[in-house]
């Protein structure tokens, strides 16, 4: 029997959202999600939003290392 989204295809697509974007789905699951996304603008919008949200959080969360910390770490090296 072929994979089916019944009874609620969008609910199933929502379940696949995270592992889909993490590239952790099996080939069959990935094909299942993509088949649904091809025909469902409701889910497609939400997938696009998730991509944008992850990018936003990732950029917002990045705080560069204080410049003097690298020197402190280098000072921990074993003397030659």
């Amino acid at each position: 029997m072929a994979l089916s989204f019944e009874p609620d295809p969008c609910e199933r697509c929502e379940e696949l959202l995270q592992p889909y974007l993490d590239r952790e789905l099996s080939d069959a699951e990935r094909a299942e999600a993509e088949k649904h996304l091809d025909g469902c603008s409701y889910c497609r919008k939400r997938y696009r939003f998730e991509v944008e949200l992850r990018r936003f959080v990732r950029q917002a969360a990045v705080e560069e290392m204080p410049p003097d910390l690298k020197a402190k770490l280098a000072a921990l090296r074993t003397p030659l």
Binding site: E11, E14, E15, L17, Q18, P19, D22, E24, K45, R46, R48, F49, E50, E52, L53, R54, F56, V57, R58, Q59, A60, A61, V62, E63, E64, M65, P66, L69, K70, K72, L73, A74, L76, R77, T78, L80
Partner: protein, 193 residues
């Protein structure tokens, strides 16, 4: 005649060269390690302390690193262990009560509030919103979330770093992201959540 065999100086030289190479490679990764460390703890000061402890330990035990394996993951395993050992967080069973909100929750909330442009997340959320929301995610979930979403580690790497099964990584990540979205929704639409 010296007790040192002709091969002994060579062995010492090789070891010194390997150690220097290890230290240089570890230092090259310090920016990336810091980005993860900073979001695992609450303040910049804590992150700096943790980084120094991590690198001190890594330099002492460099011979336990297997060349050719993922050095960044190796460093972060030391770092997360130190973070736990220092009592910065209490080890406990994470709350796995069902969370009502699904993965479309934040989008749906924005849509309900008249915000339907999926490409403009930053119209309703600031950088501070994201950082604060992330800090509100309980540690067990946040550790996985930060490793995968900020550190770009695979599920398998995160499992190895945190010494937990990959299924636990997946469930904590799944839940952590949902908690994050709930926190973000509160900031984006306020009391309407």
């Amino acid at each position: 005649m010296s007790e040192i065999t002709p091969t002994e100086p060579q062995r010492i030289a090789t070891e010194a060269r390997d150690r220097v190479r290890f230290e240089e490679e570890a230092l090259e990764l310090s920016d990336q390690v810091y980005r993860v460390a900073r979001r695992l703890v609450g303040s910049r000061e804590e992150a700096e302390d943790l980084m120094q402890e991590t690198y001190a330990r890594a330099f002492r035990s460099w011979q336990s690193y297997t060349p050719g394996t993922n050095l960044r993951a190796w460093l972060l395993r030391i770092l997360t262990n130190l973070n736990i050992d220092r009592g910065r967080r209490v080890q406990r069973s994470p709350d796995m009560q069902p969370l009502e909100e699904g993965d479309y929750f934040l989008y749906n909330k924005l849509e309900e509030n008249g915000e339907t442009d999926e490409d403009r997340v930053d119209r309703r959320l600031s950088q501070d919103d994201a950082v604060t929301a992330l800090s509100e995610v309980p540690h067990d979930f946040r550790d996985v979330l930060v490793l995968v979403d900020i550190g770009d580690f695979s599920y398998a790497d995160a499992a190895q770093i945190l010494d937990i099964p990959i299924g636990t990584v997946m469930s904590r990540l799944h839940r952590g992201r949902r908690i994050l979205k709930k926190e973000l929704a509160e900031r984006a639409v306020g009391s309407n959540v």
